[in-house]
């Protein structure tokens, strides 16, 4: 029983949206940052999709974007060989960190004191934001471009996924490789759920769940089409995935059953993320839009109001006005 869902479509970007990140829940609600090949990452209100501001400064496609937990700082990784740290409240550029190649991924530690970056130079770099002039710590090991890097295990360890078809777990203090996972094909995305230490990985048509500490496989789920990104609900009831067939799929995490699929995007879905309260998930696509989808369709939340017109079935829409038009000539 699929209830038709009206996603909130957020336009504004002029090129494909390649990465999305939500902040934590702040006293002002939660926020969303989108990385786009047009070089202009945007900050949006997380529950309504309202545009708040655009970070101007990058001179190339922005491949990765992230917010810190309280949404006071943003960081972006771009094809202009720099990663930038921004003040998310004013929009000002705070730091520019030069790299030797395209930077693909950036992420803050929980206390926002350190920034992890990685990209096509195959190195993981850790910057101390209280001492940005100092050279970053560098971790080498990957044999090709790194696509995604994340902190895990309370910021004591690092997970990185690269085009060399491996995912590696590193210890931060020793800077050594602890474990490696090898795949037959390149991993398209990686998400870390701290509560429960679960790693969500996508490759080919598979969505795989691993224990983030031991890198033991928990389960895998096959989707109907190649998947570019997946996200697990904070309460771990469901996960959503999107990929090359432009659709968003929703699966039950425990039974692995495909519950629903939603059409809406006009291009491949590059990134999906659940909001920190789990009430909605955002998808970024090749078509340049972000769409916000409700987890519990029919619930009144944010801009969604459940309206049940008598003659149509149960349907969720913002507001409906029906009138039989009569035009006489």
């Amino acid at each position: 029983m699929a209830m038709r869902q009206t996603p909130l479509t957020c336009s504004g970007h002029t090129r494909p949206v390649v990465d999305l990140a939500f902040s934590g829940i702040t006293p002002y609600g939660y926020f969303l940052i989108s990385a786009c090949k047009d070089g202009k990452p945007m900050l949006r209100q997380g529950d309504t999709g309202d545009w708040i501001g655009t970070f101007l400064g990058h001179k190339g496609a922005v491949w990765g974007a992230t917010l810190n937990t309280d949404a006071t700082k943003a960081a972006t990784a771009a094809a202009d060989f720099t990663a930038k740290v921004w003040d998310a409240v004013s929009g000002d550029e705070v730091l520019t960190l030069a790299h030797k190649h395209i930077v693909k991924t950036v992420t803050f530690t929980q206390d926002s004191n350190c920034l992890l970056t990685a990209g096509n130079d195959k190195l993981l770099r850790i910057y101390d934001l209280s001492n940005p002039e100092a050279a970053p710590l560098e971790i080498a090991g990957h044999t090709s471009a790194i696509k995604k890097a994340l902190w895990c295990n309370n910021d004591k360890q690092i997970l990185s996924a690269a085009d060399d078809k491996t995912i590696r777990l590193w210890d931060r203090s020793s800077m050594e490789e602890v474990k490696t996972l090898t795949f037959d094909t390149s991993v398209s995305s990686m998400e870390y759920v701290a509560d429960g230490e679960i790693l969500v990985i996508t490759y080919g048509k598979t969505i795989a769940f691993y224990n983030a500490l031991s890198l033991d496989l928990i389960k895998t789920v096959e989707a109907p089409a190649p998947i570019n990104s997946a996200s697990l609900h904070p309460e771990k009831d469901f996960f959503v995935a999107g990929g090359e067939d432009f659709k968003l799929y929703k699966f039950d995490y425990s039974t692995k059953e495909e519950l629903e699929s939603y059409k809406g995007h006009f291009g491949p879905v590059h990134c999906v993320r659940f909001s920190p309260d789990g009430e909605l998930y955002a998808s970024g696509s090749e078509d340049g839009t972000l769409r916000l989808w409700q987890t519990a369709v029919g619930k009144t939340y944010g801009l969604w109001k459940c309206v049940l017109p008598e003659d149509l079935g149960a349907e969720n829409s913002e507001q409906m006005y029906t009138l039989a038009p009569e035009i006489k000539a």
């Binding site: 309504t48 309202d50 545009w51 801009l303 006005y321 009138l323 038009p325 009569e326 035009i327 006489k328």
Partner: protein, 68 residues
Amino acid sequence: MSGLSNIVTMKKTVQQLRLEASINRVKVSQAAADLQQFCLQNAQQDSLLTGMSSSNNPFRPQKVCSFL
């Protein structure tokens, strides 16, 4: 002199920026809600929605006039 025209250009730029900064900005969701409300409130006055008598309709087929 180029120095003078630079100042003139810059003054114009500053004035334009001041105009742009003073524009009243509203969140997209609020603007969308306002637009919807306006359309609903004024729907009765919209001939495309509520129809129009043919005597008023300026686009009704015209009767042909001929010279006597």
